[in-house]
Every structure is written in C-alpha cells, then in structure tokens.
Symmetry: C2
Subunit: 181 residues, 2 copies
Amino acid sequence: MASGRFRAKLWPARARVKSTQLRKDLTYFGQFGTRGLGYDVEQLSKMISDLLGTTSLQPVILVGVGNLGLALLSYRGFEQEGFEIVAAFDINLERKRNKDIPTPIHSMERLPEFVRERGVKMAILTVPTPVAQEITNTLVDCGITGILNFAPIVLHVPEDVMVNNVNLAIELENLSYFIQQ
Amino acid sequence: MASGRFRAKLWPARARVKSTQLRKDLTYFGQFGTRGLGYDVEQLSKMISDLLGTTSLQPVILVGVGNLGLALLSYRGFEQEGFEIVAAFDINLERKRNKDIPTPIHSMERLPEFVRERGVKMAILTVPTPVAQEITNTLVDCGITGILNFAPIVLHVPEDVMVNNVNLAIELENLSYFIQQ
DNA sequence: ATATGTGAATAGGTTCACAGCC
DNA sequence: GGCTGTGAACCTATTCACATAT
C-alpha cells in the first residue's frame, strides 16, 4: 500500500474498521476507487488532505507554555500532519528557555497583533483552568475560529467558533469504567 | 449546586447538554432524583464515582518519560479525579531529573515486577511510536487491562484489554475541517 | 473472481411528550 | 406551579445485500 493501490476489502483489519464503513464514508465526498481494483493511494491521499484543509501548512498558535504546552511544542508530530505551531504565548517569559525549542515564545500582549497579521485561525489552549475562558474570549476577538482546549471546562464561544476538547482525566475515567471485570 | 440539590432542568445550559439527555443517561443506572425537586448532589456524586471505579484512588503507571510523559507527570489534575500515577518507567533514566517530580522513575526491567506486586491495572503510554506495540505486549503480559495510548497507531490487544487513544494531530485535523468557512 | 458503490435494513442514540411525584 | 422518569417518535450512523465495474 506504500504507493499504487490499496483495497478497502483487505486493508481495514489493521485499522479495526469494517470495509463497508470505510467505503460508505468515502462516498459522502465522491467516488475515488475503481471497482474490482481498489483505490489509488496518491489520488485518495490528496483528496483527503484537501478535505481536511491540510494541503498547505496551516499556522497554529499555542497559548500557555506550562508543562503541557512545552511538551506539545517539543512534539514534532504536527508538521507531518500539515500543521505548524508558528508561535507560543505566555504571561511569564522567564524560565521557559530550559528546553531548546525552535518556536518563538512571546508575551500575551503581542498575541492580538500576531494573530491578525498572520491570519492565524487555530489555537492550542494549554493555560490554567481559571483563566481559560478569559483567554478564549481574547482569542475569539482576534479572529481565532478553532480552539484545541486542554482545560477541563466547557468553554463558551460564539456559534462560528469550534472548540475541540482534550480531557485527560475523562479519558482515564473512561478506561476505569470499562476495566471493571 | 455546591451541595444540596441540583436540577437537571436548570443546570445543563452550562454544560451544553439537554436536560432530557442527562436524565435519560442517568436512568440507565437507576433512579437518583426526586420528582419536582431535583437530585441530591452528594448521593449522585457518590454513585457516579462508584460507577467509574474512582471511589478509591486508582493506581496508574506511566510508561515513556519523554516530553509528553514528563508533562503528564507534572499535571496534577488526575488525583482530583481519583487516579494516582504511582510510578513511571523509561529505558533511559538519565536526564529525566531536570524537573522535580514526586513520582519515582524506574527502568523498564522493573516494570513487570512492580505491576504484578501492586496489582496495577491501568497504564498511560507515552513512548515513541516505533516501540509502542512492543511495549503494549509487555504491559498486557503483566496484567494491565486498560491503556491510555498517545502513540498515533492502532494498538493490537486481546479482547479483554481496553485501549483509549489520544491523537493530538487528529484533533487538530478535526478542527481544521470544521473551520473552513 | 475481486472490489467498489449504494439503497435498504438495522442498530444506536437523542429528543419529544407526557405521566408521576413533590 | 415545579422537576424527574420513561415509552414513543425521531434522527443518525453502521451494516447488509447486491448491482456494477474491472
């Protein structure tokens, strides 16, 4: 499957997905395979990244350079998927330099200007819970329309802004529930 | 709602959940409210933590003390939810001490013994992708039945083992897709 | 023969509408 | 009046069964 073709009928075992599921999902966006043969990997891959809007490198900012924020800055798995953390922001600029991270870290005051100038649309929010809503409001005002939120609260945003939550405690609770025997 | 009662009819606006949804969900586990009045917070809270298995502090181990692993070790949000990271494991014990973390960090060799002796059932997996499956096999052999996996691959485990995936790139892609206008 | 594409059937989850209780 | 509890109605997502193309 490295290049050439892949077959929905044979491949899904690896991904634990049923073949019909995969094909049905694809049909919502069009027809991409050839019957009896399979799918052209290159063509399919292109259409998916067009669909996800990751064809060109998307700029993302990170707000809140604490432990988790630093970890995400060091995580080089985003670029591979078409995202680039172009800058990070924090109230405290001291003690953030212990790791050598290529991403510039700015003070919060520079955020609005930066976001507007660069036309950034997405933000990763790794700030302490008590200030998460307040900072979210700022982000929305600057024109951010997608927020990946790590604070364990429900953020309130206008309808045209999308929030995606990552709540690690809930993930563990989930496991805990299903584990019991 | 701090203590006393809460009403499903009034409260959900904050959590962006419909009142019927909340009530329906609760009925799958029994009846906990009183009609016309609401729910007793203490009683409901107790039943939920019983249900989630978080009534007593659950021991969890963390495997892979890289950037993300370190961040999670510093994250004090788990205890609050009934989980305690009792130990961390890594192949490389050097350079892990730059942060002062209360959790002991052991070498991988000590993992099987530790897990068996302490009867740990849950693990947080923050190792590099290429070794994730191999280490998962070890964990399963030691008796771990719940894995919170941060590596971007589908882990293969026996039926009685549950894997919960956290894939940050996918979360961003999700946002990216819904953001486009 | 093999694999895709898709309407029909099924399963799963959410919302409605209202009965029951305070 | 208030709010919970719940069958019925509704909506969404998955699976089946098979027509279609190579």
